[in-house]
Subunit: 428 residues, 2 copies
């Protein structure tokens, strides 16, 4: 309970690049991502919003690179999201330009024009078509994006681009993040080894129904855009679309999957259902989940990672809604923050979800310990054991509705003073 | 911003009965409710959960008293809610027994049996039928309710019941509330003056889609249950069903309207559409809104009352969903807590609501000052004026979609350290 009283921005925790204390859920060390044939990366401090930290990242791709994307479903999507959605139709790209500090969302015609201006400038520097330039922006909504601060650094970034700058790239896209998010894997396609590298950012304004904030996954495999699109959509469901920090869906969420085709040669693949993709798909799904969990672990003010498993629901959609009702409940999240095994609030969250539920069939467990069943506290309920189950860095909540076969798993974090500290002063 | 850093439970604010600092939004003084013919009230400290504070309230009604109710839509509704819903079918009552400290929700067969036991005991003491006894419980979910602590005080409460104990009644039903909620009005029916008295409780686990927590309204008018039911349902829409503190819908929400028929005689009224009810209905609606706003003003940790007006939406339902999306957004509520005129987060909340929205037609105002229009920051945007508009105790957010005639008004409070202090330690 003592930890609850101490905001996450307390003096003892080391400060991150964003100025906030590094999440206690941050990994002890970060993976070193190998160079990936067909991708060069560069970063720069362009002074868009932050002082003395990198805020523009560029990835340059080999000709013929295929791309697929998943984007926010927000009705007020940002200018770069609208641009990228249009470019997915042709499925090829040569460049990705990302800035942090400003979302270029709700910036009117100037925002739309600015995206076009950046694409034109980048295309001229690169010698490609404007539609081969993808963009993503993250940060404050509604502030005009200083376009010239980006266009003026494009030439330098193209010439400086090098293989292997993954850590720097992951850091340049951070906003309130307290640690960079990186993941790597290798997979076999058709007996040939390919590489998967991914980076992501995200900390607040995180809710599913989209691909959360920014995540970019790169492979040297040779896979056509429609195959990438199908695998990405499937993989985003149980990863980025199953996490929530604060139920607030961003205007800017962008998840892109690039395939350069410059790795070791494997047989041509035309369909996502091709059995030779089994291993690749499994590794891709794991990598997407890894990155999505890193976002939750860096949830604003997070002190704990919470996994909510819902089983026995009427169907999967019902299970998902119940899982989100639990994972988004401020009362559940503050109770967990306070090491309080308050399963009554889980009952409340199940009840408010609006899905079929039968009080007498409902079972609730914390960390595998049954705490409620048969419409009441479990007969063998042990307060000390239940408290212990919610007191660690990782908490497992399981709810079985006892009605059908619907299941879902949602990830979230607890709700602490840190969230309020960060969000009561982010913009000003 | 300084106030944000200081939890609501800071030492300087006076402590309430619940031990938390009294809300800065509490009224300076409370209305004195007049006696109401046909209602006697009594309270006692039964030691259900709290020490040395009243926690059981009884209202005894004259024979023939009519009643109507609105209840939580939770799928895990409490035992007393299920009991009351059944009793609404006959529409008459002689007694209301309310306890605080324990919600008797998710308490299994023991909870259901306990409700019946209380009804039987109360009926025996009172000399009425068990089905004439209504009940409401509020507090912790999942703890067995100590039934005998209630049955043992019933006899004393019946004999002590007196006209005029309204303040004591309002205090006995409080849980984390920091001030009692009372309202009174008089209305003319058919040229005859009648009285309306109301009490309510509620502070956390407050979200619409129900009548929030507990609210009881009493009149000496002679109105049949179906007329009461129709007026109550209509009145609950823009009042209790338009407030939210934390989006968490309770298992126990109960709003009851009693009519004793013991006031001055007026002509018989058979239909809610009777024009002689015009004044009564207007006064009832105002009283319901008054009580509902008192609940928001006592929202856990609340430092500000926020009114969200949505106009120009596709239809009223869309306006309501957009209003709730704004009012339930942790990012909007923390920004307001921090006196940050962060209208970008309003854009985000409109976007995530999933309703029709056109970035270029959207207008956003704080306190009547236009801050965004035509898809960007308003031309005459004035940061100092916008900041001032969100820095007071009462904040008005207005959003015009520019699409249709749909409108809604939602009330909420800001999101502060106080909420986390209260909810990280409520149960334990």
């Amino acid at each position: 309970m003592a930890s609850l009283k101490k905001p996450a921005s307390g003096k003892k925790a080391p400060a991150s690049k964003s100025g906030h204390a590094v999440s206690p859920l941050a990994p002890k060390s970060f993976p070193t991502l190998p160079p990936l044939a067909g991708v060069r990366l560069a970063t720069v401090a362009a002074g868009i919003r932050y002082k003395q930290r990198t805020d523009v990242m560029m990835a340059v791709f080999a000709p013929g690179t295929q791309v697929a994307g998943v984007f926010t479903k927000s009705k007020t999507a940002s200018a770069p999201v609208l641009w990228c959605q249009k470019q997915m139709l042709h499925g090829t790209t040569r460049m990705l330009v990302v800035n942090s500090g400003n979302a270029n969302a709700f910036t009117g015609k100037a925002g739309i024009d600015g995206v076009r201006e950046i694409a034109d400038s980048a295309a001229a520097v690169m010698g490609c078509r404007p539609q081969d330039v993808l963009m993503a922006s993250t940060g404050v909504i509604g502030e005009p994006l200083p376009i010239s601060k980006i266009t003026s650094v494009l030439s330098g970034l193209v010439s400086e681009g090098a293989a292997g700058n993954w850590r720097a790239a992951a850091e340049a896209i951070m906003t309130t993040d307290t640690f960079p998010k990186l993941a790597t894997a290798s997979a076999m396609i058709d007996g040939v080894k390919v590489t998967l590298n991914g980076i992501a950012k995200g900390s607040g304004m995180i809710a599913p129904d989209m691909s959360t904030m920014l995540a970019f996954v790169f492979t040297d495999a040779a896979l056509p855009a429609p195959v990438l699109a199908e695998m990405l959509k499937a993989g985003a469901g149980p990863s980025f679309n199953s996490i929530t920090v604060d139920s607030d869906t961003s205007t800017s969420d962008t998840l892109l999957l690039f395939a350069t085709g410059k790795g070791a040669k494997h047989g041509a693949i035309a369909k996502a259902s091709d059995k030779r993709l089994t291993d690749f798909r499994r590794k891709l799904d794991a990598l997407l989940l890894d990155l999505a969990l890193a976002v939750v672990k860096d949830g604003e003010g997070a002190q704990k990672l919470i996994q909510v498993d819902v089983t026995g629901a009427e169907n999967d959609a019902a299970a998902r809604r119940i899982g989100l009702s639990i994972a988004n409940s401020p009362l559940v999240k503050t109770a967990i923050a306070g090491n309080d095994a308050n399963w009554g609030r889980i009952v409340m969250a199940v009840g408010k979800a609006g899905e079929m539920a039968d009080r007498d069939k409902l079972k609730i467990s914390f960390g595998g310990k049954l705490v409620a069943e048969k419409g009441a506290r479990a007969a063998k309920y042990d307060e000390a054991a239940a408290t212990k189950a919610v007191s660690g860095r990782e908490v497992e909540i399981a709810v079985d509705l006892g009605l059908g076969k619907g299941a879902a798993r949602i990830y979230t974090c607890d709700f602490t003073h840190g969230y309020i500290d960060i969000n009561g002063s982010y913009r000003s």
